[in-house]
Subunit: 343 residues, 2 copies
C-alpha cells in the first residue's frame, strides 16, 4: 500500500510534479552529461534470494561497483566540474570518508588541489583511499562535526571552495541521478529505502521519486545511535544530538542543516530509526543472499524491513546499497566469520 | 606491448575484422535487443586499490550484479527467446550451476519447462538457486561430463531442445555482448583475461575483441587442475583429461568440444594455467581491495597476473569477474576468516 503525496500537485517545467525543494529536475537530468559515466546507470536488479526471508519483493540499486565504492562521486563530479569551469584550483571538504574519497577522485581528474578533513576515528580504509588518490588529508581529534568546523576554517583562511555535503545542492542533485535511474528503469516500485545521514541522498532521490513517480513511498532510514536528522524530520525543526553511537559511520552526523531538513520535509514520507543489531543482520543477509560486502550504512534499508515486516509485506521495495568501504576486520567482527554463522 | 593479430585481415560486413569463427558480430549486436537489460551494460571500472600489488592498470568487468550472479544469462536469454519463438515448451541442459541457474531464470520468464542436470557434487548454493527458480533439477552421481551425457539422453528421450554450453553458438554470442561493452567503453585496453572452461566466454569475448579491437591481447586462463581446453589449444587438437582437481567448479570440464576449440584457436592469443594457490590469492585480493566476494572462476584473471607479473607490468589489463555463486563456508575456508588474514 503506497501513500501518494497528493498534497503536492503543481507540475514543474519538466513535466514532473514540483516538489518545492531546492533541487531542480531539469538540472538533475543535465547532470548526467557531466558525471563520469562510470558512476551512472548502476546495476538495479531484483534479488529473489533475499525475498523469502524479507517477505517482500526486493530490488537492489548497487552503488558500490565503481572506482570509489560509493554513490558520492555523482555529487563530487558536479562540484569539481563547476570549480574547474570557474578556473578555481582548490577545494576542501569535511568527510566521514566517502565524500572525501569521491572528491579526491573527481578533483584529481580535473587537476584540483583537494583537502579532506576527517575525524581521526574515521574508517581507516576510507582514509587510506583518500591519501592514495592524492588528496591532502587532515585529521582532527574529534567527531565529524569538528571536522566540518575545521574544513570551514580552512576554506575561509585559504579563500577556497568549501564543499558542504547535503547543503551544496550539487551533492543532492548528483545523488538525485540515482532517482532518475530508478523511475526510468523500474516504474512500478512501491517503496524506496534510503540511508539518511546529512540528507543529500535522501533529498536527492526523494525529490526525483516525488517528482516523477509520486505514488512510491520514500522512507529514510537512520541508526538509533545517530538519530539527529530523523528526530528533526519528525519534530519539523533542527534537533542537535549528543555523541553518536553506531557502526554506520557514513551517516553519523549530529547537527542537521536547516535547508536540507526543509527539503527532506517536502519529499520524505517517513524517517525511521533502526537498531545496530538490525544493521548487522542486514549486512549479513546481503553477504549470504546477495554476495555483497557492504558498509553498515548500505544495510540500513534491509534493517528497516527486518524491523517492520508487516509494513513491507508483499510490496516491491528498492533499497540503495550506497557504499562498500569497510574495514574488513571490523566487518568480520560484526558479521561473524563471513560464512560459518549462517544466522 | 600488445601482439596485433595481423594475420587476420579481411573485414566482415559490419566493418570489424572477420575472425573466421562461427560467431557473427552483426548477430551479437542484435542480441542486445533480446537479452533482458538487467544483464547488459554491467559495471566496468578501474580498480586502483588492486594496482599497486599487481603492478599494472586493472579494470574490472563485473558480471555478478544481476539476478543470477553470473554472465551466463546473456546466453540463456538468446537460447530461451529462440525456443519460445519457435513455439517449443521445454529445454534441458547440463550445468555446473551457473548455466542452469541462468536457463532457469530465462526459461521461467518465457513459460518454458526447464530441466537442469548437474553433478551431485556441484556447489550447493548453485543447486539451491536452480530449484528456487522453478527448474526441475536432476543430479547424477558423477562429474560434469556425466551430467552432459544424461542431459543429452533426456533431450533425445523427450524430444526437447538440449542447450549445450559453448557448442550452441547463442551461448557464445550472448557472452560476446560483454566484448562489445568492453571495446565500446574502453577502447584502449592492452589485455583481456578471460576464464576458460567450455569456451563460450572466451570465444565470445575473444571474437569481438579480435574483430573490433584487434590490437588487444586475448588471454584465456584455466586452473592447472582442469587443463583440458588449454592443453587442447596449445596442441591444436582436442585433448581429453582425467578427473579435474580444482575449486573453480565453473570451469572444470574434461572434454573440450572441437568446434569451440577451432573458434578459440582463431581468437585467443594465449591460454595459461594457474595454480590453486593463485586462485585463492586472487579471490582474497578481490575481497580485500575491491570488496568483491567472487567464485573461484572469477579470480582466474587476477591469478594469471600474480603468476606472471612481468608479462603484464605497466599494461592496462581487463579482467572479467564472471560469477559470484559460491558457498560461503567453502569461501571462508579458502580465503581465511574473510578479513583477519590480510595476506
Amino acid at each position: 500500500m503506497t501513500r501518494p503525496s497528493t498534497d503536492r500537485a503543481p507540475e514543474s517545467r519538466d513535466g514532473g510534479v514540483n516538489t518545492g525543494t531546492r533541487l531542480d529536475t531539469v538540472r538533475i537530468r543535465a547532470a548526467r552529461a557531466v558525471i563520469a559515466p562510470v558512476f551512472l546507470d548502476t546495476p538495479l536488479f531484483r534479488c529473489e534470494a533475499l525475498e523469502s526471508e524479507l517477505e517482500c519483493t526486493v530490488s537492489i540499486k548497487l552503488e558500490t561497483a565503481n572506482p570509489v565504492r560509493s554513490f558520492k562521486a555523482r555529487g563530487t563530479e558536479l562540484v569539481a566540474s563547476q570549480i574547474a569551469d570557474r578556473g578555481e584550483r582548490a577545494v576542501v571538504c569535511a568527510s566521514a570518508g566517502n565524500l572525501g574519497q569521491a572528491l579526491a577522485w573527481s578533483g584529481r581528474r580535473r587537476g584540483l588541489d583537494v583537502t579532506v578533513v576527517a575525524s581521526r576515528h574515521a574508517t581507516a580504509t576510507k582514509l587510506d583511499r583518500i591519501r592514495a588518490l592524492g588528496a591532502r588529508l587532515e585529521l582532527v581529534d574529534g567527531d565529524h562535526e569538528l571536522a566540518r568546523e575545521r574544513a570551514t576554517a580552512i576554506a575561509r583562511h585559504k579563500g577556497i571552495r568549501l564543499v558542504e555535503d547535503s547543503l551544496d545542492v550539487e551533492t543532492c542533485e548528483g545523488a538525485a541521478t540515482i532517482g532518475l535511474e530508478l523511475v526510468e528503469a523500474l516504474p512500478s516500485f512501491d517503496v524506496v529505502l534510503i540511508a539518511l545521514g546529512g540528507g543529500a541522498l535522501a533529498t536527492g532521490v526523494g525529490h526525483v521519486v516525488k517528482s516523477c513517480a509520486p505514488g512510491a513511498e520514500v522512507i529514510c532510514v537512520q541508526p538509533q545511535g545517530a538519530p539527529a536528522m530523523t528526530r528533526s524530520w519528525h519534530q519539523r525543526r533542527v534537533v542537535i544530538t549528543g555523541p553518536t553511537d553506531t557502526i554506520a559511520d557514513g551517516v553519523a552526523g549530529r547537527r542537521p542543516i536547516l535547508a536540507v531538513l526543509d527539503d527532506l520535509l517536502l519529499v520524505a514520507d517517513d524517517a525511521v530509526l533502526v537498531k545496530e543489531t538490525s544493521i548487522v543482520a542486514g549486512m549479513r543477509m546481503l553477504l549470504h543472499h546477495a554476495g555483497l560486502v557492504v558498509e553498515p550504512s548500505a544495510a540500513l534499508g534491509i534493517a528497516a524491513i527486518l524491523e517492520d515486516r508487516d509494513r513491507f509485506a508483499g510490496r516491491h521495495v528498492v533499497t540503495i546499497v550506497c557504499g562498500s568501504n569497510v574495514d574488513l576486520d571490523a566487518y568480520s567482527s560484526w558479521v561473524g566469520t563471513a560464512a560459518v554463522d549462517r544466522s
